[in-house]
Amino acid sequence: MAAVAEQTVGKSVCPGDVLMSLPETGVVRIGGGVQQEGEVLVATKAGVVQQAKGGKLWVEARQKRYIPSPEDVVVGRITDKHSENYGVDVGGPFRALLPVLAFEGATKRNRPSLQPGDLVYCRVETAHRDLEAQLSCMDAAGKASGFAHLKGGMVVEVSTTLARSLLSRPPAAVLSALGRSLQFELAVGQNGRVWLDAPSPATVILVANAIQSSEFLSAAQQEALVAALLKGSSAAATRRQQQQQQQQQQQGDE
């Protein structure tokens, strides 16, 4: 199975393209954008064929509408509040549910208080096409591990493909280039929402611009983009000034 799949991985396909024929024995795992049609697997979306480490085959399509899938991390906006659940807009066709007890250390007496309009960084626990998606602000072990209420900051919308590349490891070139000279906080959701926060609004805007324009650029182009943005920005200038002042202070101390 692996041999046939290797030929198609990384190729651009369109709906109706046959990806591979099913092997005589063994298990093939398929994700979004792939369907079984008789003896073969067929693409149902236009995009690039990808294979996960576990062997799961899927078509990475550039889309704006998010379809929830288990174990995705998402940035959601609270839309309504009930006794047991929060209703959360994650950008999918339907609202998702975030139980009030799905936070680390939450009990019936001690529960987080979120208001409609608040942002949360959470994980999709269950997603089924016939049910509302269930979210959780804990990992499988019950720890917070980065999932939380996002206070302040700003949200920018990007395509799901860009969100996935920002989450990849090693980090995307645009993020490491920005991280070298600026201080900011970032939470990327696979639903195409990126939450940003930084000490100064100028930095937030610079980072948002850099991320949004980085989608179709190579690593080297992304570095050049960040360098060009930093050159013309006041945020970087003030940071350089601060660094110079610190250096001068250190020299003075010595």
Binding site: P15, G16, G47, P93
Partner: protein
């Protein structure tokens, strides 16, 4: 024999497809064939606004056809129904139950074959929105010239369609196309090895032989159009 614009009878006008033009729609595409151009946008899958449009088993498809000028009449309503039924045949609607997928087709300019152009634009927009599709769908328009010596014209302009004895629009489903050579044999066996006729709409007088010739000539044109559409869709 050459046509008024220098084309051969079985030649399509210059085709152009642009995707992702509209920033607020989930998917959009402009499809241009010579002087005819349609802009399609797709919103969805979204929550159906009323329960009347909701189906517990599958996604509902809604098509709005907007003419270049003037009011929506019975022709437009017929086009809407035809585009809806053709798209329903290719969309894997069971994957998104209780949702609504809305397709809006705006005619930008009309120089004949507007329905075929609208169908192609709708299909390209569905691809752009990453709505799961069974396969693509390619549509062509045909005209049968008047008189005993009349020829079959592929993709007629407005003047050619007006002078013709009969005109028709045909949509076809392309074959399952194999990415790697190795599995192509299996791919051919499922599709039956030919473009499937999906939709047909004719206006005017035709003998049954002429109709069959038209379907066959349309198939050849749609084959080339589908190849272009697949290539356009594969470009990320």
């Amino acid at each position: 024999m050459e046509r008024a614009d220098g084309r051969r009878p079985g030649e399509i006008r210059i085709v152009r497809c642009e995707r992702g033009l509209l920033s607020r729609a989930d998917g959009s595409a402009q499809w241009t064939q010579g002087g005819t151009s349609c802009l399609a946008s797709v919103a969805g899958p979204t929550q159906a606004p009323t329960s009347a449009k909701e189906d517990a088993e599958r996604a509902t498809l809604e098509v709005v056809f907007k003419p270049r000028a003037g009011l929506v009449g019975s022709t437009e309503k017929q086009y809407e129904a035809l585009i809806r039924r053709s798209c329903e045949a290719v969309i894997l609607a069971a994957l998104h139950p209780r949702t609504l997928i809305q397709v809006v087709v705006q005619v930008v300019s009309d120089d004949g074959g507007v329905l075929a152009c609208a169908l192609n634009a709708a299909c390209a927009a569905l691809v752009d929105a990453a709505v799961p599709l069974r396969t693509l769908c390619a549509a062509v328009s045909m005209a049968q010239e008047a008189g005993p010596e009349g020829q079959l014209l592929l993709d007629p302009s407005a003047a050619e369609a007006a002078a013709a004895a009969a005109v028709g629009t045909f949509a076809y489903l392309p074959l399952l196309h194999s990415v790697s050579e190795e599995v192509s044999a299996a791919g051919d066996s499922i599709s039956g090895g030919d473009l499937q006729l999906l939709t047909s709409l004719t206006r005017g007088r035709l003998t049954s032989d002429q109709l069959l010739d038209m379907v066959e000539a349309g198939r050849q044109g749609a084959d080339r159009l589908a190849a272009f559409m697949q290539q356009a869709a594969r470009q990320v």
